[in-house]
Structures are given as structure tokens and as C-alpha cells.
Symmetry: C2
Subunit: 240 residues, 2 copies
DNA sequence: GTGTTGACGATTGTTGACAATAGACAAGCT
DNA sequence: AGCTTGTCTATTGTCAACAATCGTCAACAC
């Protein structure tokens, strides 16, 4: 009965070093919000909490810094990266560029499998909307865009895209908050996009994506303003 | 006379940790080709050569791995990342997506400063072409595209773009080789693009960029085939 | 009272040593 | 001969201690 768990444990130990495991662990903690943006990460504290030495932890820190999730200041330590609205807008713009290109590309090389996946997600979104399940809808939203990107069949495009999405996840509060207002119109927007892709109508798809992205950006701005005003937190404002 | 050098040295020590310096050092060595793709990097060897302990070196390794320049296998060590043609094509496609969006965006928000920079580079390119200075032309080619990206005024777009270009630099042999055949037509292509941008003609600029990128991709393919055939090197072929 | 200076504590930066693993090589068995 | 197995070495993974730096805070001079 322990064979399966043992073999997986062996696999785990063979593939992952401690630094890798710590990196994944920290990444989960950051994107889940357990570590809030701006929060200081003390080396001895985190290392003792994970039963790991400082060496692998520092290696994980460097990887996550390069990934844009942490920020280190020499002799000051590392903190969870806090995105300013300007930074978020910039990242969002880059993502929008890729979204447009993805739509144009996908409209020409749509496969039945990808289309089925997309339509399945749309169906789930409708269900989530009916249930007012915001968490599930947010996850499906990410899934839909990720599925479109995946549909292009370019592994590095996926990596680049996820790199951006991961960073935008640092604005999780604003992002989730913004979904509340999005739930009403967003489903139909997504459905229109998928339909255009299914027809192979690249230009319509691109136009719809452009509009959809603009709405998303506006929602993000409003949510950020609302959040900044209500929380009165100055740590996220226009710092370079 | 030592004040300026001393102050810069102080700045250097205040801003950069050893790991950061090692990272920059290694990155230069990689992009310059001093460390060839596929080459093994022994930790003690490199660390002794740089008069640095293994700790900071490993931190630099992790950062460069995340940046896509190194590849680590547990208990096997790190090697300079070797791009397969398929990977290079994928990265190139992503870069092409951004190039198109950059052209569309830049055509609408072109500033006199950016335009002057672009035209200056074009002028230098013509001079380099006349002198048959391939090295200089290659550098100018990178500069031109970088200047266009910079012209959009989005810092994260610049980062994302350079991230891709840096990785494509791992195919340096093929890239430089391909410039030989590019020198003839590439200058006029670039000039047409800049002219379209200057006129604010977004659609023409996008179309020209698309064509230009397609030519570049074709050159990269030919150069890679030629290089692979002449070198008989099997280490770069379709490995995952 | 205000500003400066010095020492202290906490935290990060760096190093060298120890443990564990993979690959090579040779000895032994079939 | 071919295959297995045991050992051995080089290299990586991990750790704990040392050194350097920053922020704090109290003592002191003015």
C-alpha cells in the first residue's frame, strides 16, 4: 500500500532539490495571498519554518526574484513584490498584446479539441454565474485565457503569458474584487470571442478581444482605486 | 583622480551583491559566446575562477536558469541552455507577436525623440552596410528593434521583449550567420517600417513588420540548417 | 530641547566543511 | 564475451558558523 506513495516520493526527491521545493512552496504562498505584497520575508524565520537551511532558501529567493514575485534590497532583505497601478497597467498591456495575437493566430489554427475545451469552459462559466460562485468564475476566467494561449501550440508563448499572469496575480485583491462587476457582462464577451474563433473570423475575434481587454483594464483600475481609497494604504502607490 | 572610481566602486558594492555581480558576469559570458550552448559549468571551477564561493555562484545559477540561459539537472550540474530549432522558432514567434503590437502602438504614439533615434539608427545601418561591418550591423539591428519597443514607453514590455531576445541570443552562431544574407535587403525593410511609423500608418507598419519578421525567421531557419549540416552537431536537435 | 555620536542587536552576505549522489571503472560470475 | 556488482572519485546538495552591514536607541555635548 505504500508502494505508490514511496515511488512518488522517490520521484520527488530525484527531480526536485530543496531549493526547487522551497521555490514552489513560496510561490504558492505568494499567489494564494498567504504572503501579502510588501510583506518582509525573514530568512531565518522562513527557513526554520520550512525546516530548511538558508542556502536553498536564498536560491529560491533569487529564482522568485527573477520571476518577478519577490524584490530584494541588498542588506535589507526580500519582500513580496508590491505592484503599483502603473506597473500593473503596463503588464496588462503586454498581456493584451499577446491576447490579440493569440486570437488572430488561434482563429486560423483552431482544432476541434481546443474548441471543445473552450466551449466546455464557457459552459462552466455560465453555471458559475448562475450560482454566483465568484471564486470558481475567477478560476475559469484564467482557465479560458490559458486554454486559448495553449491552443496556439507554442510552449514559450504559454510560458511568457503565464509569467505575466503570475505577476498580475500580485494584485489579487483588486483582481478578484473586479470580477464582481465583471460577472454580468464577461460571460457574453467570452462567448462572443469563442464563437468568432470557431468561425475562424480572426478580425472579429481580435476586435472582441481588444474590447474585452479594455473592459478588464478599466475594471482593474476601478477596483484598485476603490481598494486604495478604502484601505488608505500608501504602500502600493507610484513607487518606482 | 581616484575619487570618481572610488565613488563608483562604493556604489557598486552598495547596490550589487556578489551573486548579482556573478550573474551579470556569467550572462555576459554566455551571450558573448564565451560559454557555448550545451557547455557544462563546473561549480568549483567557475567559483575559483571568479574568486567567489559556491553559495553566491549557485544563487546566480538559479537566477540565470529562471532567465532561460542555463539549465540545471539535479545532481548533474548546470549547462548553458542549448536551444533546439523548434524552441527558437517558438520564441521567435512570440517576439514577432510583440513586434507587431509594438508597430501598431508606436504608429499612434510616435514622439519626435523616438523618431529621431530610429532614423539615426537607420543612418548608421546604411553606413555599416557600406562598410560591410557585419558585427556593427548586427548590433544596430538589435538596437533598432529595442528602440521601437522602448518608444512605446512600457517598461515591462521592454523587459519581456529583452527576455525573449536574450534567449534567442543563444542561437548566436546562426543569428550572426543569418545577418550576412540579411544585410542586402534588411536595411530597406527597416527603413520602410520606420517611414510607415513616422507617417502614423499603423496598418502598413504592421504589415511591413510581419513581412520583415517572416524574412528573419526564414533566415534563421536556413542558417540553422546550414550550421547543423556543416558542424554535424547533434546536440541541438529536437531535444525536449 | 535638539542634534550628534557611539555601541548594541538583529539580519543579511559569505564562506568552508560535511553529506549524498551519479558516473566510471574494474573485478567477478554465468 | 557479456552482464552484473561493488567500489571509488568527482561533483553537487546542504548545512552551520563567521563576517559585514543596517537600524535603533541611549548617552552626551551644545
Amino acid at each position: 500500500m505504500t508502494t505508490s506513495t514511496t515511488s512518488s516520493a522517490i520521484e520527488l526527491l530525484q527531480r526536485h532539490s530543496l531549493a526547487t521545493l522551497v521555490q514552489e512552496m513560496l510561490e504558492r504562498s505568494i499567489v494564494s495571498g498567504e504572503f501579502a505584497p510588501g510583506e518582509k520575508l525573514n530568512e531565518v524565520e522562513v527557513s526554520t519554518r520550512l525546516n530548511v537551511s538558508r542556502g536553498p532558501l536564498r536560491e529560491a529567493f533569487r529564482a522568485l526574484e527573477q520571476a518577478g514575485l519577490l524584490k530584494t534590497e541588498k542588506n535589507r532583505g526580500v519582500t513580496v513584490r508590491a505592484l503599483s497601478l502603473r506597473e500593473a497597467e503596463e503588464i496588462y498591456e503586454v498581456r493584451a498584446m499577446l491576447d490579440e495575437s493569440v486570437a488572430r493566430s488561434l482563429a486560423n489554427r483552431m482544432t476541434p479539441e481546443t474548441l471543445a475545451t473552450l466551449k466546455g469552459i464557457i459552459t462552466s462559466m455560465k453555471a458559475a454565474k448562475k450560482d454566483h460562485d465568484l471564486t470558481r468564475y475567477t478560476a475559469l476566467n484564467v482557465q479560458l485565457h490559458d486554454a486559448m494561449v495553449t491552443g496556439v501550440g507554442n510552449q514559450h508563448l504559454i510560458e511568457t503569458y503565464r509569467h505575466l499572469v503570475r505577476q498580475l496575480g500580485l494584485l489579487r485583491q483588486a483582481a478578484i474584487e473586479s470580477e464582481k462587476s465583471a460577472l454580468a457582462t464577461s460571460v457574453t464577451e467570452h462567448e462572443k470571442i469563442v464563437n468568432a474563433l470557431a468561425k475562424g473570423d480572426a478580425e472579429s475575434a481580435v476586435a472582441l478581444v481588444r474590447e474585452h481587454v479594455a473592459h478588464g483594464l478599466a475594471r482593474m483600475r476601478r477596483a484598485h482605486e476603490h481598494w486604495a481609497a478604502s484601505a488608505g494604504n500608501g504602500g502600493n502607490t507610484g513607487n518606482t
